[in-house]
Amino acid sequence: MADNDTPMLPASRAGWLGLVVGALALAALPYLAPSTYYVELGTTALIAAMLALSLQLLVGCTGLVSLGHGAFYGLAAYTVYLVTPANAGLPMWMTLPAAVLVSGAVAAVVGALSLRTKGFFFLMVTLAFGQMIFFVFHDTKLGGGTDGAYLARPLISAFGWELQLPRRQRPIGTYYVALIQLVLMYIGLALLLRSLFGRVLQGIRVNEHRMVALGYDTYRYKLAAFILAGMLAGVAGHMWAMHRGFVNPELVGWHRSAEALLMILLGGLYTLHGPILGALAWVGLGEASQLITERKLLVEGLVILVVVLVLRRGLAGLWTFARRPAEPARPPAGAPSPESGTAEGARHG
């Protein structure tokens, strides 16, 4: 019954196997990449995937569409910059908790206030908070102002042991650190969705009014999800600082939030792995369209439009889309499956 009742996770063993194969393929990528440039591009994509995945906890799992999520991402990157002394990188086990705590603390304040509103107003209030945080970094010298600032990257180390890599292999090390964090984040969120807490979030997404009538203080659950999502965005932002060794206000701006929403839309709103697919596709698409044309944004926009219109369940829907006819009909015959409404739409589209 557990799988049937958490539709955001793969329903079958084959589905889980697919995810494992996907993770192994990502793990093999540095060995297949023609140059370190592509390894670094891969790290960028993995970081985008973490950001989109963290936002999915709000959007796909709880039904909260936030336009301020990028702020927690950028805030974490800036935290790394602010706690790191010049020219001497700190160990990751110090920078990561610091970044995550700052993101979580600010998310607690932003969430506590913005979750008093709903729907469109929530969208606007989160946008306003995000822009406030953006202007803190944009208009003050706190983090190098509009130009941004370089920082000494965190070191991959734990318990006194430090991973020492020759300079040319450092991007590979960074790539794996990002991949491990992404995999752990997915596993953690999958376990969360299967928990009693996750079921409450799902109930809120489907029918919040009814959840209140059943006796749930939905505000508290939404706030917990908001803080957790902010902290996970912080993991992604920390990784960005580690990857690029550079922060600028662009990391905090609402563009970042909008981009993360687009990745979710592209990959699929109805699965937990959809945003990861969407982020990888988004970064790949940006790269490819830059190669073939100068009108990068136009190409990206067109592709997103087509995917959203044709595949209502996003790229993640391709799998069920291709496989659906082979599925045995659910009892009783003719009863549509949970999301058949959207699948139906996709077929016609």
Binding site: M1, P7, R194, L196, V200, R210, A213, L214, D217
Partner: protein, 255 residues
Amino acid sequence: MAETRHGRTPLLATQGLGRDFGGLSAVRDVAITLSPGELHAVIGPNGAGKSTLVNLLSGELAPSRGEIRLAGERIETMPGWRRVHLGLGRSYQRTNIFKSLSVLENVRLAAQAVMSEPRSLLRPAGSARQIVAAAEAALARVGLESSGARTAGTLAHGEQRLLEIAMTLASRPKVLLLDEPLAGMGPEEGERIARLLRDLAAEHAILLIEHDMDFVFQVADWMTVMVDGAVLAEGTPETIRANADVQRAYLGGHA
């Protein structure tokens, strides 16, 4: 049954309860009581304020004035979700379920609301046996035990009404507020729910809002008639049937 009425402290009682919408008083100075084991029916024409009354009792609307007591405790300013934990459960006139979730999950969520503790929230939902068992028991109570795995939105209308009641039961309420449970039901399904209600009345205090007069007069221990937001009359079904004002205002040729 009516004898028990004045013998015990009421489970639920209102005093001077009122709610305005702009210039309109949807509910005016309503005083009703509900005793343990009683089935109290509220009747009245459309727009009499019956559903507003239920929304005031369940906490979906805040009263403009007056008080509500649940087992003696004042609850009129308490948020609706908290009232559920004190034993107040309600169903909706327009079916209000989680259509894209399974039937069992609908009821399981209702049971979880009152049974889970904060520190167990990270347990896998499937392994919280007590909650699942409570949900299955509530489904069995309304006769939907074999439909647990179905998607709630695919149930027939009557089955959705039963699910609605099962969700209310799963939170183990002491007081049931049922807003037109027979709405839109055929005669056979209606009979099924009628039997269920008689059954439930043995263990719960029930405040019932219903349009089907034959049914109401059969099952009610006590009745309140509302017109234009105010209480016109109250009494046993026999006294209500005989009341000339009620006949004029509402029952027409029925009684």
